[in-house]
């Protein structure tokens, strides 16, 4: 899953899509994941880092990751 190249993000969680004019506010976790995605880290690596760093089960992460993907797609932030 690749975030669109022109998506602008800021350290405080603000996300701007210059192609549509849409803007979003993300929490700290969203900001960290988007930052990793913008650095072209593979999904598996990002998920592995989350499992290591946070008290979350793999099943819970899978469900949340699916939600996250749907939200990014709905927000038109990822490459088709």
């Amino acid at each position: 899953m690749k975030i669109k190249k022109n998506i602008a993000t800021s350290e405080n969680g603000f996300i701007f899509n210059p192609a549509t004019g849409d803007s979003f506010s993300g929490n700290a976790m969203a900001t960290a994941i988007l930052s990793a995605m913008k650095n072209n880290e593979p999904d598996e690596q990002i998920r592995k880092n989350i499992l290591e760093k946070y008290d979350v089960t793999a099943e819970q992460l899978n469900r949340d990751w699916e939600d996250w993907t749907i939200q990014l797609r709905e927000a038109n932030l990822i490459e088709c």
């Binding site: 022109n6 602008a8 701007f16 210059p18 192609a19 549509t20 004019g21």
Partner: protein, 350 residues
Amino acid sequence: MTIAITGLNANDNPGPGIAVIRAIRDELGHDVRIIGLSYESLEPGIYMSGMVDKTYQIPYPTAGIAALKSRLQYIHEQEMLDLVIPNFDAELYNFIKITPWLDSIGIRTYLPTEEQLAARDKMNLSDFGAEHGFNVPADHKLHTAGDITKAGHELGYPLVVKGKYYEAFVNHTPDLAIKSFHHLSAKWGLPVIAQQFIKGTEINIAGLADGKGNAISVIPMRKLYLTDKGKAWAGITIEDEELIKLAVKFASVTKWKGGFEMEIMRDEGGRLFIMEINPRFPAWVYLTAGVGQNQPAALVKMAMGADVEPFTEYTAGKMFIRYSWDHLVDIADFQQYSAFGELSIAKVHL
């Protein structure tokens, strides 16, 4: 340089005049003398020092070409105008008609032809789209309230009912469509237009073209906040090659000359529909100056004979947020303008 500009009604449904003046002053400085041309004595721009140097009242378009020429002749004798920039749809026909005369007395313009003006008229937009391969919502001309039944059957509901010149209503039932028809026909005359409703994201494009098929500037803006009249109260520039291509194609196929605004709806499938094409700069045109493509200033340069290369860059993500401001005006100024039809913003003492 002395430039006459109309559209000083900076109200909740503003004319573009003040934005045009602001953009021109930004780039060409305060050495430019701006002569406002207004229709009514409560147009706010008349009283805005720093924007307009002097304003003259001009006759309504319905008064005809002779009245407009006579008034402009007088104003030209006082001010020695170099250029006039009309900013209202309804006055453009008259100004285009008198362009040769204006030119003969040394007043330049930068306007489309009568044919270009007619081609993008909302009455002809559907044919225009078919001819040039643009997506345009299907429409139906309404001459009587009875025509709504057929239009509703063909176009479905919700049904957009639009006035000949201004205003549009989205109607969810035939009864509401009939009410809109009567309102709009009484206000703007016949025919009224029924248009297919397109659900999607509203985007506007401000453009400037050179009359030779080249778009000099194209700035797309997504509306972020709408007034109850559907006007953008806030917006943001966006980068989208498809929108730019659309405006470039418009300039190319029409050989449009002057400013223009395209009202676009992007449907859920990503298709771009042209809802309207306005034959002048939009009221939000100052945003073009703020993102690196000052369209009004470029128009002035081109009208005065300069070659302006097409702009290629602009800043995406720049917003405008309109605001209201209670401008205090001395009764003496209002009296001067109401009584004599002209006002220099220098104070008048009773």
